[in-house]
Amino acid sequence: MHYIEIKNINKSFHEGDTVHKVLDDVNLHLNEGELTILLGRRGSGKSTLLNLLSGIDIPDSGQIFMNSTEITLLREPARTIFRRKNVGFIFQFFNLIPTLTVNENLHLALELTDNFTPEGKERAKFLLNEVGLYDRRNSYPDVLSGGEQQRIAIARALVHNPGIILADEPTGNLDFKTADKVIEILDDLVKKNGKTMVMATHSRELTGLADRIIEFKGKSIIVSSQRQN
């Protein structure tokens, strides 16, 4: 069953009079429970595709179906609500709320999805233990290292039990050692929870984890390949 279907997607950005076509007639499908890696150079369109999948941005034309919902038909407020309920997003720069503690960052995600219940709080506690930062639950993000912040961001993305995890260069702002640790945690948690995940990266080293690799070559050619198990 296809969890995500992308049909004839086009996306351009305007810079003055110049038009930069980033995605040109893209057709894709992603299966439920799979880890898909979007591979390509910086500026190749990986983040653009993730933003379209999450509903942060909309395509110029084409359709995107997620779990049978056509998100390209939704208006902005509805897309935001859909995103916060169904998508867990992990950003390159963590994007934790600096004025909320680690615990409150997770609780905000629960509150926005109507999951701020004793069970939800218990799940937040469980995930903080899983990423090894329960002891830092009352700290503010700015006193944590980059690796610790990204581990919190992973916990936040999973805490409301979304159908899909989207990760945009999750190790792009981390050193190699920390990046390995973060990927290990992310892979472990996603697989343990049976989640579908799409990760954008420019690092070929991560392709070994993927069920499916979609490589961005040039502006319009997208090569999809299946990992041989």
């Binding site: 407020p77 935001t80 926005l112």
Partner: protein
């Protein structure tokens, strides 16, 4: 698709308010911006309103409760008309007035209106000659029994450092008149501290002698009902040299003289409003721009534009409340300073 109505998220306000408290200088500066805006608008408005009120009070002090004024087209009005008013037209509430412009020769000089009034007719029109004398009525008897005695406003006496018994020199035409201060009037002028016009008051007999009026007065003040107006029209106004005007019309000349003054104040008030609005707008823009990253992070976390708008509005109201309270206090203080200038 939307969360149930009435649910109040509390981590969003918490994130916003913590930002305000963890950046106290930014919050303080935003509040100061609003405070200045409110203070500027309020102080100019206080000064404007007070000046206008002072003018109205000053006009009321001179005209009192007068509804109409009997004037002569030839200048002064014969006292025989006053007698006719009472006998032929049956108008009892009337007061003859001698009004002259003089210059009080103290310091750089003060322009003043000299009013010669009949204390026995005045009670119905103006209250300062019959009731508001400071101390007992010794001054009133002096005013009536002696020549060249005048009453002056208490505030003017204080400003010009005059006391009862002091002699004042008044320039009238080419001559100089000498009068003695017999008492002080507690005038309404003290309400604002601003004075549009000074006035001196004497008994009408003193004024007649000082200004060589003989059997003439400047005008006769009247408080008339519509039927009395009709009666006067039929009797007294048969003399074509006489005219009956309303008190409002009589004040129009003085009002037109102060029109430019009021226009300036209004222009200043509008300017203050623009400056104030600009200050408030800038303060609020500064406050939002400084938190742009936090707002973007909240949006990325899945907070809707509507929730962000509500949050920004709530914080703006919070900052604006602090600024407005400070601005009102500052505005009253500034207004008082401006009125003292």
């Amino acid at each position: 698709m939307y969360p149930p109505r009435g649910k109040i998220d509390h981590f969003i306000p918490k994130a916003g308010l913590r930002y305000l408290f963890t950046h106290p200088w930014q919050t303080f500066l935003s509040s100061i911006g609003i405070m200045l805006g409110v203070a500027v608008i309020l102080s100019i408005d206080i000064a404007n309103e007070s000046s206008g009120k002072a003018f109205d009070i000053s006009m009321e002090s001179v005209t009192g409760k007068t509804t109409h004024r009997l004037l002569s087209r030839q200048g002064d009005i014969d006292l025989s008309t006053y007698i006719k008013l009472r006998t032929e037209a049956g108008i009892t509430i009337s007061a003859p007035v001698i009004e002259e412009n003089v210059k009080i020769l103290i310091g750089n000089g003060y322009t003043a209106t000299f009013l010669g009034l009949d204390p026995f007719s005045e009670r119905e029109f103006r209250n300062f000659i019959s009731a508001d004398l400071t101390g007992d009525n010794t001054e009133l008897s002096q005013l009536l029994s002696s020549n060249n005695k005048v009453l002056i406003p208490e505030s003017f006496a204080r400003e010009a450092k005059l006391t009862i018994g002091d002699t004042l020199s008044l320039k009238w035409g080419d001559g100089v008149l000498r009068v003695v201060c017999a008492g002080l009037i507690k005038s309404n002028e003290d309400v604002s501290g601003n004075r549009i016009e000074q006035f001196l008051i004497s008994d009408i007999e003193t004024a007649r002698k000082l200004f060589n009026k003989g059997n003439f007065v400047s005008h006769i003040d009247l408080i008339l009902t519509p039927s009395e107006v009709e009666r006067i029209t039929k009797t007294i106004l048969s003399n074509p040299t006489l005219q009956l005007s309303t008190a409002e019309k009589s004040n129009e000349t003085a009002k037109s003289m102060t029109e430019a003054f009021r226009l300036n104040l209004n222009a200043m008030s509008l300017l203050a409003l623009i400056v104030g609005l600009f200050l408030i707008y800038n303060a609020m823009t500064f406050s939002v721009v400084q938190r742009r990253r936090l707002l973007a992070l909240l949006r990325a976390a899945g907070v809707t534009q509507k929730d962000i708008f509500i949050q920004v509005m709530a914080e703006s109201i919070f900052i604006a409340s602090i600024g407005t309270i400070g601005g009102i206090v500052g505005g009253i203080f500034l207004g008082k300073i401006m009125l003292g200038l």
